[in-house]
Symmetry: C2
Subunit: 199 residues, 2 copies
C-alpha cells in the first residue's frame, strides 16, 4: 500500500489501528509504562516491531497515540451555545466508570513522565497542545458571545482550575471525581472566577 | 525516661527526632517509598528497629511524620489581617527551591499512596486533616471579617483551586510553580471565585 496524504499512518487500516491501541492500553494497565516493551506490544498484537517503529516512531508516541485514540469525544465537537453547558458537557465526555479507568492510567503516566522526557514531550505535543488549542476555541466563543470579558485574568487559568477539581479527590480519596462533583465545582468555582453568572 | 504528656514521642529528644526525620527524607529521595525499609532507616540513623516501631508504629507514620516535620511554617501561624495577604503568605511559606524539592517528594508519595492504603491513611490523618482544619480557620476569619459571604459555594473548593495551580505546571512542565505564578493565580482565580475584590 502506498503512503497516502495521512502520512505513515496510512499503512494500516483504522480497525487495525484501534486494535493495536487497545492492546497498548491493556499492556499499560498490566505492567506500567516503564516495563512496557515494543516486543510485548508486537507479540500481543501479532505485528512486527519494525512495523510498530515505522508507524509510530517509538514507545512514547505509541502510548500517547493510544491515549488520544481512547478519548470518546473531541473537545472541538462541544459547542452547546453557553459556556456553562459547554463546560458541563466537557466533563461528561466520559462516564464515571471510564473516568476511573483513565484516571489510573493517567496517574501511572504522570509518574512515568518525570523520568521519561520523551514521553513528556510526546504527551505535550500530541495530546495537551491540541486539546489546549481546542479548549481555547471553546473559551474564545464564550468571549465572542459576551459571556466572558476578553481581559478577564482567569482566562489563562481555566485548565488549572479544572485540573484541581480532578486532582484533589484523586490524591486524597484515591479515586477520581464524579460528574456530579465536577458540575458543582464548575458552578461554584470556574464560572464565578470568569465572572459568568451561574443561573 | 518516663512517657510524658506528649505520649510515645517523649522518649527521644527533639534534636534526635529532627535528625531521624532528615534521614528518612534523604532515604525517600534516594530510593522512593516502596524500597524504603525500616532496616535502612535504622542503619542510617544508628537506631534500633524496635525504637523506630515503638516511636512511630510503622513506615507510613514515620514517613508522614518526616513530611510534616519539614513544613517550615504552620498554617495557623498565618494571620495577616486580609484573605489576600494570608493566601499570598501561605504560598510563600517555602521558597522556590524548597518547593521544587518537596514537589519531587510529594510526587513520589502521591504515586505510592495509590498502592499503599496505610500510607494514604497516615497522610490523610496526620497531614491533610490537621492542615485542612487550620486552613478552614484561615477562611473562617475572612468570613468573620466580612470578606467572604458565609454561604459562598466556592468556600468548599479553595483547596482544589490551589492544588490546580500546583498540579498543572508540575505535570506538564515537570516542575512546580514559582511564587510569582501562584500569586497571580490567587489574584486571578481564588479571590474572584470567593467574591473577594483583588485591589
Amino acid at each position: 500500500m502506498a503512503e497516502g496524504a495521512t502520512g505513515r499512518r496510512s499503512r494500516i487500516t483504522p480497525e487495525r489501528e484501534a486494535e493495536l491501541y487497545a492492546a497498548v492500553l491493556d499492556l499499560l494497565r498490566e505492567v506500567g509504562y516503564d516495563s512496557l516493551t515494543m516486543d510485548a506490544v508486537a507479540a500481543r498484537t501479532r505485528s512486527s516491531k519494525a512495523t510498530l517503529y515505522r508507524q509510530w516512531g517509538g514507545k512514547a508516541e505509541l502510548v500517547v497515540g493510544a491515549m488520544r485514540h481512547g478519548k470518546p469525544v473531541r473537545l472541538d465537537a462541544i459547542d452547546t451555545g453557553t459556556l456553562r453547558t459547554d463546560l458541563h458537557a466537557l466533563v461528561t465526555r466520559e462516564d464515571d466508570c471510564v473516568m476511573e479507568q483513565n484516571s489510573a492510567l493517567m496517574r501511572a503516566l504522570a509518574m512515568a513522565m518525570h523520568t521519561n522526557p520523551d514521553l513528556r514531550q510526546a504527551f505535550r505535543e500530541q495530546l495537551i497542545e491540541p486539546e489546549m488549542a481546542e479548549f481555547r476555541g471553546l473559551l474564545q466563543r464564550a468571549v465572542d458571545r459576551g459571556e466572558i470579558r476578553a481581559d478577564c485574568p482567569a482566562l489563562d487559568f481555566v485548565v488549572h482550575m479544572l485540573a484541581g477539581g480532578f486532582a484533589v479527590r484523586t490524591l486524597i480519596e484515591g479515586q477520581p471525581p464524579t460528574q456530579a462533583f465536577l458540575h458543582s465545582y464548575i458552578d461554584a468555582v470556574v464560572l464565578p472566577a470568569l465572572g459568568v453568572p451561574t443561573s
